[in-house]
Symmetry: C2
Subunit: 438 residues, 2 copies
């Protein structure tokens, strides 16, 4: 008997029929003898509808009231899902974030979990009932409702799984798991059977959309095995855990995913997958005085306005070593206020121009096998060169290489690299992407 | 400076525009120098929509989850209203029932308030902010969300007003106050300037729809002055309080309503108003053995199935004094299970027939002036007789006479009695019924 935390996203509970399908799956898991804790997001567009209504009232909504407002969506879906499970003859109880003991900071809209008091949930599953918890929300020290921001429901699920020492946290979504690349760009992308937590972190951090970075960080820190899978099929998805499976988990994991790639490097593919990201912009500060501290000043200004700088390149022109150009990438939402802040500091810093380019794309090649395989970058550059694609910036970590290209080139770049590294699926590998009509 | 509790019903906050109008009124009250606590219902049909969705999932929803589900509507409206007030430059904070300290029993769907911990609300208004509280909900000893059932938001408002020692509890609705009769039936009905708590209780208990009985009982027990008025106009509505006004209240009440009718009986109209009720059914148990305890047995069976018996008449036929017919009225929703329970006890009780008549109406004449004015019932019966309307049952209290008529006769009965008691408004009394297009 395993303790399983299941998280269902908004598309999995978009309407009453979807809700009933989820309820059947919860009941099947319970009837297979497992203890089940369910974390559920708001139904379909509920949260967006609430945001729209608020926007009709004010452009300056107090954050505290916004959080109470937005938390209503998950309260509705958790109550309805609990009813649907009860209707199938299995006792279920629904819990708000507060009732589930999810204690957070008071940073409305992006609260951090500071602790979990899981007695009530633990008692519920111990009594043989299913516990259904509202995702995305918690309660602050002041007894106020908070929301966890983007990826909040994933984070709720992983945090609960960690606190309850669950055997696995299943993340249900509308695709079959993690893929070697986005199947909308690479039709021959294959589903990953198993990846390490570290690889998942790199994929999530560099554009893979299925799992939120914060939840992955949580899973990695507290060693929570994850299983990313579709709520529209019974198939295994992608397993994410390091080392050998514990006894309970072993019964759940298909044999092909049981092999620990870190124990048996022959099993470890060099490259697990390719993430891409269209949401970054590029800023170049030209003719900066090439003195110590000037680049630092640029990035301290970025930090002051909360811009999340990703890649950085500094070029010193051959003709004039007293000047340098600094180029960096950042999320598109951070660009305008960063440009404004830098412009305001133009005289102080003494640069020439700010060049702004929103039309860039980033490709990231991720694989734990890179550690022991030299020549990965050479192969990457060759594949891009053969495809006639220019590389504008490069950054690397131990298990990742990222390159920036023109936005127009990004899809072709992903396709070319996918093929070059032998990731294209063969005919026999049935790859299903997407749910039933969503 | 008065402390004013304002309650806005679902029709007052049906959409974003209505919400903004309510916000303006809240802000005006605050800017007039008063402390303001607002209790708000769910927007328009929100609660019905949630009920519909739940009904698509199950016909046997667990009460606990149903209460969490239904409480979402008020959480949405309180958050949005708080945003709308803040948008107008007045600081407001929204509070759930739990946050407002509304402690209840665990009777989901019809929880009773057992206590109020109002520190947080009191602090909020003391700090010069507006407190906005979700109506209809509270929290049980087990930390579970409860709803208060019908009239729940009125009850929340009056209970908060009592606990905070508010100077007045304003009940905003889509009509201008309490009327001498339902203006849809009697176009010449006039708005009541002031009525006693006791009269309001009788009117609410016998069919007047504007105020819920439970809230009126609360107001009477804790001596909370009420002001029932329209959120669609600035006019004074109906004032409900006994005795002289306290100093704060005095500044709010128009002079015509300041006269205490109980101090100055000449000012007290004999009749305040006429309530009517179409929602009662009539059951007759025929040929019951006329022995002590047999009628009691009938009504103990009614009590066992939770039927709310109202009027009772027992007739002993002249021809056979060993038998009696017992007739009683009860809410239509209670009729079927009462009939079933009585049928099951037929042999035990030994009656002949159960006669069931859903087509009855009840007219109730209410007025504290009745106490000192004999002849009210004679005038009532004469008016009905002149209109050719047959009286099937009669019951009286110290300040009320109720009669049961055929359902078809009810409207004519209300009109005839309204005229007979001189309640018809003159041309000069501008009576406005209904809101702006709702």
């Amino acid at each position: 008997m395993a303790l399983i935390v299941q998280k269902y996203g908004g598309s999995s509970v978009a309407d009453v029929e979807a809700m009933k399908r989820v309820a059947r799956r919860v009941v099947e898991t319970h009837q297979a003898g497992h203890q089940v804790v369910v974390v559920v997001s708001a139904m379909g567009d509920t949260t967006d509808d609430l945001l729209d209504t608020a926007a009709q009232i004010t452009q300056h909504a107090p954050e505290r009231e916004m959080d109470i407002l937005l938390s209503a969506g998950e309260r509705i879906s958790m109550s309805l899902l609990s009813m649907a499970v009860n209707e199938l003859g299995v006792q279920a109880q629904a819990f708000t974030g507060a009732q589930a003991g999810i204690k957070t900071t008071s940073h409305y809209g992006r609260a951090q979990i500071v602790g979990l008091v899981t007695e009530r949930i633990a008692r519920t599953v111990k009594d043989g009932h299913v516990a259904i918890v509202a995702g995305f929300q918690g309660i602050s020290e002041d007894d106020d409702v908070t929301t966890l921001g983007r990826g909040g429901s994933d984070t709720t699920a992983v945090a609960l799984a960690a606190a309850l020492h669950a055997d696995v946290c299943e993340i249900y979504t509308d695709v079959d798991g993690l893929f070697s690349a986005d199947p909308r760009i690479v039709p021959k992308a294959h589903r990953l059977r198993r990846v390490t937590q570290e690889e998942t972190l790199e994929l999530a951090a560099h554009g893979a959309k299925i799992l939120h970075l914060r939840a992955v960080e949580f899973a990695r820190r507290y060693k929570v095995p994850l299983h990313v899978r579709s709520s529209f099929s019974e198939k295994n998805g992608t397993w994410i855990f390091d080392g050998p499976a514990n006894p309970e988990l072993k019964g759940l994991v298909p044999s092909a995913a049981l092999v620990d790639p870190q124990e048996d490097p022959m099993e470890q593919p060099i490259i697990s997958g390719i993430a891409h990201d269209r949401s970054q912009d590029k800023i170049t500060v030209t003719n900066l005085p090439n003195t110590p501290g000037m680049a630092a000043r640029v990035f301290s200004i970025c930090a002051e306005v909360g811009a999340n700088v990703d890649m950085i390149v500094q070029n010193v022109p051959v003709s004039d070593s007293t000047r340098a150009n600094v180029t960096f990438t950042l999320p598109e939402g951070d660009a305008q206020r960063t440009l404004n802040a830098l412009e305001a500091a133009r005289d102080e810093i003494g640069f020439d121009q700010l060049r702004y380019n929103p039309n860039i794309g980033k490709l990231s090649l991720v694989g734990a096998g890179m550690r022991t395989n030299p020549g990965v970058s050479a192969k990457l550059f060759e594949a891009l060169s053969d495809a006639g694609i220019n590389i504008e910036m490069i950054s690397t970590s131990e298990i990742r290489i990222s390159v920036v290209t023109r936005l127009d080139d990004l899809d072709r770049a992903v396709q070319a690299v996918h093929t070059a590294f032998g990731l294209d699926a063969t005919e026999s590998e049935a790859v299903v992407y997407g749910g039933t009509g969503r």
